[in-house]
Symmetry: C2
Amino acid sequence: MTEARKPGFSDCNNATLRRAARSLGRFYDDALASSGLKGTQFGLLFQIHVSNEPAMSTVADALIMDLSALGHTLKPLIRDGYVETFPDTNDRRIKRLRLTPQGQAKLDEALKLWSVAQRQFEGKVGAEQAAKLRAALDAVADLDLEMPTAAPSP
Amino acid sequence: MTEARKPGFSDCNNATLRRAARSLGRFYDDALASSGLKGTQFGLLFQIHVSNEPAMSTVADALIMDLSALGHTLKPLIRDGYVETFPDTNDRRIKRLRLTPQGQAKLDEALKLWSVAQRQFEGKVGAEQAAKLRAALDAVADLDLEMPTAAPSP
DNA sequence: TTTAATTAGTGGCATATGCCACTTTCGCCG
DNA sequence: CGGCGAAAGTGGCATATGCCACTAATTAAA
């Protein structure tokens, strides 16, 4: 036996990941609080900002997020006038996204707050280490995980 | 020139972590689907299982979760008869938690499904690597992060 | 011991996410 | 061309999480 495992911390990769996400999420949320944005909203605005008037499905894909979940998450941002949608000229199914001027301004404001949190975090764990962790997380996120369900392809 | 670069989306530790959590969460959720439990519920049942009739605040603490959030998350599990509460004999403020026999059975059932997912995951990234990642995540979760902008304590 | 400060939970409100059932469009055939 | 299956979104339902305001019970002060 290795050691007396502390009774409470499971080996579950998922549980560990969620726990860390809750912890870090609160930190970033606190940092962004004065802007009125949550960490997720900031991330979403940023993703739209760096994309080229992306379709909703494109953003959902990039963030590995359910399309309907994206739709829901987008609502408060549209309601508050930070994001607007407009139809694709070629495919009427597609709704493209872009930041409004206010959205752009809000993002700029939030970026300042974000960078403080980011520096704070990297100061604690080290920029190197943080980069490595992000790389590992991206690798995990992009894994092609599939449960060995019955009947793969007949 | 330290500037002139837009912080790539992937530079945000929080966004990267959430993205990975969404991805992995879906995988574990899929694996547990037939049990009717979500990954978070499984984790919560497990935490209660390995603890000794813990108080709600103890569980919330272990999972780095807001106490009220725990209360909400607990509701469906109590409603479905997997968890029950009972008052602490010494401190009437405290509500302790335990699994019901059905909860225990459901956990046993879910553990089988979970281990398949867990093996699947570790088969992809390697058990060593997975353990390292969990350690890194636990370290991040337990960091004492605080924004320096907080009011100076007199 | 009466009171102030703290701790444990609850309930309400708001966002975050997912799945499923539908609807509208497209693109691809036969 | 007409129909069919895939793709993009929407809306509803349910869980996941947090914060805030409030209540009840304890403990530390005065």
